[in-house]
Structure formats: structure tokens, C-alpha cells
Symmetry: C2
Subunit: 179 residues, 2 copies
DNA sequence: ACAAAAATGTAGCACATGCTACAATCCTGA
DNA sequence: TCAGGATTGTAGCATGTGCTACATTTTTGT
């Protein structure tokens, strides 16, 4: 929960990058240390334990996702649900966004069984997604529907059924109309 | 890819149960062996390697999910999209179903980075979900939408935002109407 | 300037992991 | 019956894990 000290902050960026590239499960101290240009010994010294360290990394990534969202479509006004969904889906195809969403999925599946920190971070990210969605909708009440559908699209894509995701998107266009 | 021998089949059920209860990531040879009443040595003997073993376990679980689906709502005719979604969502609240869906999420997040076997199983399960959905819909064309939404509901629930999932379900009822 | 504290390097421990070597037992068919 | 394969137990290896002990250097406050 405590905010990172300056020393910690400097280490967090390269480690977050490593996690985004290689996943959370496989993130062990030695590779993380190497990515940050230090040693496992130092990571424990600065962060006390691996759990605490991973907590910081997850929060850092969450923050990164949030600021990413904030600057995305920031200049556009509220739009119909389907327009927003389509635009976000386009963005989600960009490789940098995909790896972020992949971590988000991984985090969610960990949260189901994980410790309090993991659950809190997952919940936090979900909340930010929801707020951001509502802020861009002509009908903010639809935010839960749009978010739910987006999460579903991500799952199908990672399950290797991007085609079904696209069919779903197309079908939803007719259903939602101009809401 | 090869079907399990009788000897393998006997071991698979308790191991699948262990995985459903404890997750895929933490499934190492010794606990799996203990669950199946044998030794790690024997597991390797019967399955050659852990990767092959996990492949069998995943396929076993997939099969279990498929037959579970086949017998679920089997006596009911085709129904409107929202009715089906609501019914399935109710079923998903049952603890035995929830742990299955949890594994499904975990498998999906693994497939994103995983080997061919993992990806194939994930894709297979998604396909079966889709077919099953289409078979129960008055308008089978809506199957992708319904499935996508369901996956999204699962994600939100595991992320600790079941409330948002429920809001989403309620809102979708108005949108879908009687289709 | 200098003692205390912070920061770092080196080495290694204790444990869990997948997997193997080797020997012993069990079971089958001729 | 009994040779040969199938099956299993015991012990252990090599590697990766989180973390620590200890000594050393660097920084900081007075």
C-alpha cells in the first residue's frame, strides 16, 4: 500500500516492462533484478520480500494502464456504445496494448485464488476501466454492458478465437444501434 | 493428442480434481501424484513428461466441461438470448461450476503465452462453448454475442466486481428484448 | 572529519522442482 | 515353470527458487 520511494521507483519501470513482456507467473527475482540492472539481493533489500515487490510492480502497471486510458480518446466527446467499443477494440489490437491486456487477464485469473493485494489491484483496475468507459459514453448507464463485452472480447481473442470476437462485435452493432 | 490408456485414465480423474481445486500453475508432480495415490516416478513413467501429463489433464477437464454442458439445459428448447444468458449465469454461481470457469480463465491466460497444446485446448473449449450456446438459442446467430458477454461476466466476477456483472446483465435484458 | 547509517557484492543455504539410475517385484505367455 | 516384459519403490541429481550472513564500500549528518 505504501507509495514507492524514489529508489524503488527507479527500479520499477524496467521490472514492469519485463513483466509485461514475460508474464507475472514466470517473474522470479533473478531475471527481474537483471532487467533492472541490479541483483536479487538488492531487490529484497529495497522491497523486503518478493510479495511486496510484486505488489509494487502490479500497482505500477495498473497506474500505467490508467494513465494510458486517460490519454486515450481524451479529446473526443461522449459517443454511442458501439462506436466506443469498436474504437477500443481497434486500440486493443496494438501489440503494446495487447500485452497489457494479457497481464490484466493473468492478474484476474490470479486474483481468483490470490492474496489480498492481487485482488485489490484487480478490482482497482476493473473500477478504472468502468469509470473510463462511462466517461466516454453518450449513455453512461451502458458502461457495465460495454465493459463486460470488452472483457469477453479479450478472453476470446486470447483463447485463439479472434474470429468469434469479431462476429460478436458485428452482431452487437445491430443490436445496440445508436444508443 | 493420443487418447489415454486405461491405466492413465484411472489416474486422470483424481488429478483433474486436484487441478480444479488448486489451479494449474501450482500443479507440480509430487502433489499430483499424491492426489492420484501414486508417486512422481510413476507419473513420469506413465506419461513420459510433465508437459504430456498436463496436456492429458487439460483435455480431461475439457471433456468434463463438454459433457457437463451437454447435460445442462438439455431438456429445454431454444430460448431468447437473455433468458439463456441469465440461466447460464445462475449455473455459474454454483461452486463446482465456478472452479471450472476459474480453470478456464487460467487456461486462457496461459494460452496467450503457452505451447501449442495449451492453445489447442483453449480453442477447443471455446468452440464447444460456442456450439452449445448456438444450440440453445432461438436465434443462433446471436451465439457469439452471448458467449462474449458470458466470458466478460466471468472476468468481472473473478476480478471481484460481481456487482458490475449483475448490472451488465440487467442492462442487457432491456437491450436484447425477446431476440 | 568522522562515526553512523545506507547501500552493495559475494557466497551460500534450504527447499521445491522435473527427471533419472538402479534394483526389485509382479504378471504374462509359451 | 520360468524367461522377459511391465510395473513399482528408493534414492538422488541438477537446477531454480526466495532469502540470508557477512564483509565491504558509499553516503550522510553533525
Amino acid at each position: 500500500m505504501t507509495a514507492p520511494t524514489p529508489t524503488q521507483a527507479k527500479l520499477l519501470m524496467p521490472m514492469a516492462d519485463y513483466v509485461l513482456e514475460n508474464g507475472l507467473q514466470t517473474a522470479s527475482l533473478r531475471p527481474l533484478a537483471k532487467a533492472a540492472g541490479t541483483s536479487d539481493r538488492m531487490l529484497i533489500y529495497h522491497f523486503d520480500s518478493k510479495d511486496v515487490l510484486l505488489g509494487h510492480i502490479m500497482r505500477f502497471i495498473a497506474e500505467q494502464m490508467a494513465t494510458g486510458l486517460a490519454t486515450t480518446l481524451s479529446s473526443t466527446g461522449p459517443m454511442p456504445a458501439h462506436t466506443l467499443l469498436t474504437r477500443v477494440w481497434d486500440l486493443a489490437q496494438r501489440s503494446e496494448m495487447r500485452r497489457t491486456l494479457r497481464i490484466w487477464l493473468e492478474l484476474t485469473s490470479m486474483a481468483a485464488r490470490g492474496d489480498d493485494t492481487t485482488q485489490a489491484v484487480a478490482q482497482d483496475i476493473a473500477d478504472r476501466f468502468l469509470d473510463w468507459t462511462a466517461a466516454h459514453l453518450k449513455t453512461p448507464t451502458l458502461a457495465p454492458v460495454v465493459l463486460t463485452h470488452f472483457e469477453g472480447l479479450v478472453v476470446l481473442q486470447e483463447a485463439g478465437r479472434a474470429d468469434v470476437a469479431n462476429q460478436s462485435l458485428a452482431a452487437l452493432k445491430d443490436i445496440l444501434g445508436e444508443r
